[in-house]
């Protein structure tokens, strides 16, 4: 949007050019602030590269992620002997694998490349689910208030008392074994099939969704309460707008900003939760590569072949860095008032 103000029209004949003021919209302003934040830009670029890696994993990877060559197990390229000198005396040198091969002779590099898919999918879907459930729950609770609100928030309080990590372990065990061998034709069978065709992603997503929304619900409720009594809501009531319409057309657009920011800041948490579940063997089904599972395999061999744990760990750390940088930048750009609170 450009507003031209001809402030010096009176002197136009004197050869002066008209002074132009550009008015920026909220989003342009935020984008400008974001682009000025070097860390956020670096984070964004890394995420873009990761996304491209995930999409074109088939092209970038040099071997299928599940191809085992048992005779090649634990092979290491020569340059790793310099980085990890402790391996030098016994390492089997081969230049077939850029980052080495794992304990069953699979190419580490290709597995890390494919592992990007899992982590990024979680990074994308985790926040969406948590936003979806949390915002609807919190909106209803905050909007209707009174007894409904009281009951709904007590439920959230109880869920807060669950030792989250322990509970999600139990939940994953429940999913994994309930849907392992169900009767064909039932819903359980369908879900189990879907899950195994996704490499175990479905239940991780459900598990994360079930445990991640409470914070969002509380936050949404607070935000709804803060705008519920504003004049424009009253105005909407007087012209006879329905509750649903007020909730989602009038209130939601006004509060969604901070909610999205909080969710962006939570992304690294989702990524590390998936990695953790795969680390203890309740996440992604092998042989689908997840960085967490690769770190677990590598950790067993950390004294002999450190490269097998260090490289997937670096991939995970870089991804989390990128999302943290971008999340921080987004928060500072969109809600400067929130700066440094998370």
């Amino acid at each position: 949007m450009t507003v031209e103000l001809n402030l010096n029209s009176g002197r136009a004949d004197a050869g002066g050019t008209p002074l132009t003021l550009k008015r920026e919209s909220l989003w342009q302003d935020a984008l400008r602030r974001l682009l000025r934040n070097r860390a956020a830009v670096i984070g964004g670029v890394i995420i873009l590269i990761l996304a491209l890696t995930a999409i074109f994993a088939d092209v970038i990877a040099i071997a299928p992620y599940d191809r085992q060559t048992l005779s090649d197990q634990n092979q290491v390229p020569a340059y790793l002997g310099v980085i990890f000198p402790s391996m030098k005396p016994y390492m089997k040198v081969s230049d077939k694998y850029p980052l080495g091969a794992d304990y069953v002779g699979r190419d580490l590099f290709s597995r890390i490349v494919y592992g990007t898919r899992i982590s990024l999918t979680i990074a994308l879907i985790g926040p969406l689910i948590s936003l979806f459930i949390g915002v609807i729950y919190g909106s209803i609770s905050g909007y209707f208030g009174g007894r409904v609100d009281n009951l709904m928030m007590r439920i959230v309080d109880v869920l807060y008392a669950f030792p989250g990590l322990l509970f999600i372990i139990l939940l994953m065990a429940f999913f994994r074994s309930t849907f392992a061998k169900p009767e064909p034709g039932t819903l359980a069978f369908f879900l189990g099939k879907l899950d195994s065709s996704l490499g175990g992603m479905l239940f991780i997503i459900i598990g994360i969704g079930l445990t991640g929304w409470e914070t969002q619900a509380r936050l949404t409720r607070g935000q709804v309460l803060s705008v519920r009594e504003k004049e424009f809501i009253e105005a909407a009531h007087t012209i006879g707008a329905s509750d649903l319409r007020i909730m989602f057309r009038h209130i939601l657009p006004n509060i969604i900003g901070p909610l999205v920011i909080v969710e962006t800041l939570a992304i690294p948490g989702y990524i590390s939760l998936e990695a953790f579940l795969s680390f203890i063997g309740l996440g992604i089904n092998p042989p689908t590569p997840s960085w967490g599972a690769m770190i677990a395999d590598g950790a067993n061999a950390i004294r002999t072949y450190p490269n097998q744990a260090i490289f997937p760990a670096l991939a995970l750390a870089i991804t989390m860095f990128a999302f943290n940088f971008l999340g921080d930048g987004l928060r500072d750009a969109l809600e400067p008032r929130l700066r440094g609170t998370q």
Partner: protein, 351 residues
């Protein structure tokens, strides 16, 4: 305040009831049972075992039996025997009556032990690790945050905050293997795995000796677990102190000629602590459950390994006991935080 605490304690009971019910029925909904093994036992044996442990009864009755054992205090006149069926976590004598409480039952997978045995031998290790991680979080995070705030927009500030982003970005499963490789395997400064204390523990929780032989095992896991939280604390302390420093009463303190160190320590710090205290509850919860991951990486004989195994084994009593006990920790720590909060900020009154 007394009313408030009483209300919160009643609420705690309700929460624990709900947590136990959900866990109990979810756990029993998982197919399979504790006596399924690779080499299948004869059906009669399984039936016998199940009836011995009352696992053949209706679920609701089992749940009631469980609550009776765990939640209700038991009173006896006889001196308690040492049977595995009657192993109470808490028992003491008043006059000549024994009061016994919290019988979490036998472990179905390792039948020579009770869940309380597990709590006595493994839980102290997890607690020690959790408390040390919390100390790391506070002792690293708060000075870093204070320093960054006092030297705002200097190289110290940027360095500290970059360190904080590093801290939140590197989860335990990344930091753990990295530390083991650097300090344990390459430099050989610290033992790469294990724990420096064995039962019996002092007062049931503390290690017998607090010396380097003990701490050298704890340094890496405590830092791996605590660093992420120290980053959160550092950022929060910085933000909160920066806000407080701009308040009018700080200007007043300076105007009346108070020296800068006194202004900071007496006037600014205490008030800037309030937001930090509010996150301590969730933080403690995260650390205390986070010990599970850390223990698996560093090969520490705490609750973590046993809990994960108990789930694959359908060791019902261990699953229930662990989740319940940790839920109690969470709710109690939140209560303590709320009380401290009221003490720090007298404007907050709960009644």
């Amino acid at each position: 305040m007394g009313h408030y605490i009483a209300r919160r304690l009643i609420y705690l009971l309700v929460v624990l009831l709900v947590v136990s019910a959900i866990t109990f029925f979810l756990m029993h909904a998982v197919p399979g049972g504790p006596f399924d093994q690779e080499k299948a036992l004869p059906e009669e044996t399984i039936a016998n075992l199940e009836s011995y442990y009352h696992l053949d009864e209706p679920l609701l009755l089992q749940y009631g039996r469980y609550l009776y054992d765990v939640a209700l205090p038991h009173f006896t006149i006889q001196a308690p025997g040492n049977t595995r069926q009657e192993d109470f976590l808490i028992q003491f004598k008043v006059g000549n009556v024994w009061i016994q409480w919290m019988n979490f039952g036998p472990s179905y997978a390792s039948r020579s032990r009770t869940v309380n045995d597990l709590f006595r031998q493994q839980l102290p290790v997890s607690m020690q690790l959790g408390v040390m991680a919390l100390s790391v979080a506070l002792l690293v995070g708060m000075p870093l945050g204070i320093l960054a705030a006092l030297k705002q927009n200097t190289i110290l500030d940027y360095l500290g905050m970059s360190l904080a982003i590093f801290g939140v970005s590197v989860p335990v499963i990344v930091l753990g293997p990295l530390m083991i490789w650097i300090f344990g395997v390459t430099l050989k400064w610290l033992p790469p795995s294990g724990w420096g204390a064995t039962p019996p523990y002092l007062w049931g929780i503390l290690p017998q000796k607090l010396n380097w032989d003990y701490f050298k095992y704890a340094v890496m896991p405590a830092f791996a677990l605590g660093l992420g939280s120290s980053a959160i604390i550092a950022r929060l302390t910085r933000a909160s102190l920066l806000q407080v420093i701009r308040e009018d009463y700080i200007r007043t303190a300076r105007a009346k000629g108070l020296q800068e160190p006194l202004v900071i320590s007496r006037h600014a710090l205490k008030n800037s602590l309030i937001p930090v205290v509010t996150v301590l509850g969730p933080l403690f919860a995260a650390l205390i459950t986070g010990t599970f991951v850390t223990e698996l990486i560093f090969g520490i004989p705490g609750m973590g390994k046993y809990f994960v195994i108990s789930i694959t084994n359908r060791d019902y009593s261990v699953i229930m006991g662990t989740i319940l006990l940790y839920a109690i920790f969470l709710v109690l720590s939140n209560l303590v935080v709320d009380i401290v909060y009221a003490y720090l900020d007298p404007r907050i009154r709960y009644d």
